[in-house]
Every structure is written in C-alpha cells, then in structure tokens.
C-alpha cells in the first residue's frame, strides 16, 4: 500500500514536469537584429591549399573593420616567424567580389614594405573596412620547419587588434616544374640536380644520370614515351646511348591518377606531400617504365637511396619525340 502511494506520487511529479515543459517550449521571443560592434575588429582566412612547398606562396586574406564614423584604419601589418623569400608582399588593394564573381581591388594604401619578417601597408584612403591579401613566398630556409603569422591592424582611434595564424608546416620536398625532355638529346634526368642533362653534360657527370627518357614507336607494342634507368635490360633501352660510367639502377613505378595540383599547373585536386615520400616503398619496382602517358606519373627512388621523387608527365609530343615533365623530390 505504502509502495503504491510512493509510485503514484512519482507519476504525478513526472506529469507536472511534462506539462511545464510543454507550456514553456512554445514561448516565442521577438527577433532583434544584433547591434554591430563598433570597436576595431579583424579576421583572417588562409586562401591557399595543399602542402607548403618552398618557392610557392601561402596566401591569406586579412579583413579589418571599425565602426562607421568612428575613425579610419591606418595600418595593417603581418609578422612572419621566418622572413619570407623575396616577393613576399601584402596587396595594398582591398578586394571584394562583384556580382559577376570577379574580385575587384580598390587601392587603400601605399604598396607594402617588407623588412625582415614584417610586412606593412600604410593606409592612405579614408576607410573603416578593408580586406588585404598577403602572399608569403616560402623561403628555402623554412623547409621542414613551421611558420606562424601575426596579423595586426591599427586605427586612428588608437585601437590595435591582432590575429595569429599557424603554425604551418613547411614541406621538406623540392619542386621543379616544366622540364622538357627530348629523345636522344636532352634526355638524361638527374634527380639529385632536378634537371635534364644534355649528352655533353651527362658524359661529364655520368653518375648524375638517374633516368633516360626515350621515345620509340615500335610496331605491335606500346613503348612510346618511356623512362629507363641506365642499367636496365638492353631490350628496354632500345638503342639509347648510355654515357660511359652511368650505372645507376634507379627504381621507378608507374602511377596513374596522381595528378598533383602543383605539378599539373593548378589543375586537379590531389597533392603529393612529404608523407607520400616517407611511406613510399619502391624496393620491388622495376628499373624502367614504358608507355608513359600525359597526366600519368612515376614514383622514383635513386640508386644511392638519397632521394625519392614523383615525376609527373605534363604533356607528350610524338612528332617531336619529347615530353614535358615536372617533379617533386624528397631528400631522405
């Protein structure tokens, strides 16, 4: 009996709470447009994607704003923890996107001045809001390190704001784009130099020849544009001239669908990064790659084990017996 009373009490209590929730749940509040802040504010977005490779840039858009009629922006500054390479700058135009989707820049200040890691734009326009773009050219000395950025703005009201971005890891790999290889002439590829050597250069430095490019139109088989190491079987050399002393047994593995955006002239959405080279295993790969097509590629490891690389085929030309290649290289 006593237990029944307790049980009923509990049920009543739950019922009362449920009713209370039901009545309060539908209580509507009138929406009011929030009052805009009038103090100096700032925000940053990173516009560039993919691994940060030395020689390329990291792009940011730095927005700053002050309440209308309160004053004007006087200065925008970016401080990078590692000074950028020559060419690092902050655009002195404020950009907005028009109705056609085109970015329109309006000059708001003097061209930026960079001193060490500090880049400054002094405003000349009377403006309370601006979005400036900052292009940080990644220097060689930043490879394998991380870099941070502090964006700051000053207003005529004396207010100062700042915004930190990063750290961003800078890739260890190197990149070289658009090297032309031509059958029987500029056909010797050096991974260490990231260069294409002529027969004379190859003869002078045979140890630098990692791969030989050749084009052969052989009936019944698909040989076409190929890259072979100097020590591959004669049947894959097809009469290619091997410089005396060139003996690198370079491993090479064909790849398809790894169309790196950096190497492919900002097409596609794939990036080869340091991690790909670190995990690469081409120990079982052959020392030749035949019938390489445009937009394909090949993973390579040099015979001395010092470098791994990804060679991308930008284009091929059967008539000229040539190809345009780009490469990313990682020092082990």
């Amino acid at each position: 009996m006593n237990r029944n009373i307790k049980y009923n009490g509990l049920l009543s209590c739950i019922g009362v709470w449920a009713l209370l929730f039901l009545f309060t749940a539908c209580d509507e509040k009138e929406y009011a447009i929030p009052a805009a802040k009038t103090e100096l504010q700032n925000d940053v977005i990173k516009r560039s994607l993919g691994p940060n490779v030395a020689g390329l840039d990291i792009e940011f858009a730095y927005a700053m704003a002050l309440g209308y009629g309160k004053g004007k922006i006087t200065r925008a500054t970016v401080e990078a923890s590692i000074p950028g390479a020559p060419g690092t700058y902050m655009d002195h135009r404020s950009y907005h996107t028009n109705s056609s989707g085109i970015d329109v820049g309006i000059e708001v200040g003097m061209p930026s001045a960079t001193e060490g890691g500090r880049t400054t734009v002094n405003f000349t326009a009377d403006t309370a809001a601006a979005t400036l773009r900052y292009f940080y050219i990644i220097p060689e000395e930043a490879k394998g390190k991380s870099v941070t950025f502090t964006f700051s703005a000053e207003a005529s009201t004396g207010e100062k704001v700042s915004y930190s971005m990063g750290p961003y890891e800078i890739a260890k790999m190197d990149m070289k784009r658009l090297l032309t290889v031509v059958d029987s002439s500029a056909c010797y590829i050096s991974i260490a130099d990231m260069a294409v050597l002529t027969p004379e250069q190859a003869a002078a430095n045979p140890q630098k020849v990692d791969l030989i490019y050749l084009y052969r139109n052989v009936p019944n088989i698909m040989f076409n544009h190929s890259m072979v190491s100097p020590t591959t079987n004669a049947e894959y050399l097809r009469g290619a001239v091997i410089p005396s002393g060139a003996s690198n047994n370079t491993k090479i593995r064909k790849e398809w669908n790894v169309r790196d955006r950096h190497l492919a002239d900002l097409q596609f959405g794939i990036y080869v990064d340091d991690l790909d080279f670190e995990k690469l295993d081409v120990s079982q790969a052959p020392n030749y790659a035949l019938n390489l097509r445009a937009e394909s590629g090949a993973w390579v490891e040099t015979a001395d084990g010092k470098y791994r690389a990804y060679i991308y085929i930008n284009s091929v030309n059967n008539n000229n017996k040539s190809a345009v290649i780009s490469m990313k290289r990682y020092a082990l």
Partner: protein, 136 residues
C-alpha cells in the same frame, strides 16, 4: 502486488529476448560467408592490373572453364612482379588463396593456381593463370 509482478516479468522478458537473438538460422563457413545450395563453380571474368591500377591486358582474357585455365596476354614491359589479379566468380563461390594485394606472376614456367570453391563449399576447381607477354 502488481508492481512486484512487473519487476519479475521485465528481466524474464529480457533474458528470453537475449537467448533468442543469437540463434543461427543459416550456416556460414570459416570466413563468415554464407553456405548456400549452389554447386556452380567457375570463373566468369578475370582482370589483371599493374602497379598504377590500370589494366595490363592487351585483350580480353580467355577463360576455359573445362580446362580450368585463364590465358592472359599482357603489355610488353609489364612489371610481372607487381600485378593485382581480380576474379569474377559465379554467385556464392569464393577464391582460395584470397587476393590480398600485388602478386608476383614473374615465374612464367610455374603459373599461379587459384581455386574456386562453390557456394555449397563442396566443389573445388583449380584455375591456372597463364600469362604471356606481348612481343614486338
């Protein structure tokens, strides 16, 4: 009194439900695959991919379900040590050994043999994969 009855009834119901839930209705093999009544046992299609996951076949494979052979011609210069075979089998059948990654087919004198096991797991047919390399 009624409350006490409910207290006993609910755990009892849970035990009954748990007991029934693990009851097996269909037989499965050591791989957890369903064993069915099908006795058909053959390869219906075969693909061979290179290290770039592109086909290395020069033409369609010739699958002889009587002789239990698969003849494939591959492009000149194909890296035979790193090939990825793909079998299409009759419904419910399975392959032994399983394909776990790139496989070495370079020993052309001793072609690789894969067995197809029927859906009822009672028929086993070995298929020999014979590779020839395109020549100029």
């Amino acid at each position: 009194m009624r409350f006490r009855k409910i207290k006993i009834f609910i755990p009892l119901l849970i035990f009954v439900l748990i007991g029934n839930s693990c009851k097996e209705n269909f037989p499965v093999d050591e791989d957890g695959l369903l064993i069915t009544d099908r006795a058909e046992c053959y390869v219906s299609n075969f693909e061979l991919l290179g290290s770039d996951f592109q086909t290395v076949r020069t033409k369609n494979p010739v699958i002889d379900t009587v002789a239990q052979t698969i003849d494939v011609e591959v492009f000149y210069g194909t890296d035979l040590k790193n090939l990825y075979p793909q079998f299409t089998l009759v419904t419910d059948a399975k392959l032994d050994p399983k394909i776990t990654g790139f496989t070495d087919f370079s020993d052309l004198a001793n072609p690789r043999v894969y067995s197809v096991i029927s859906g009822n797991r009672k028929v086993r047919k070995p298929y020999t994969v014979r590779i020839t390399v395109q020549q100029p």
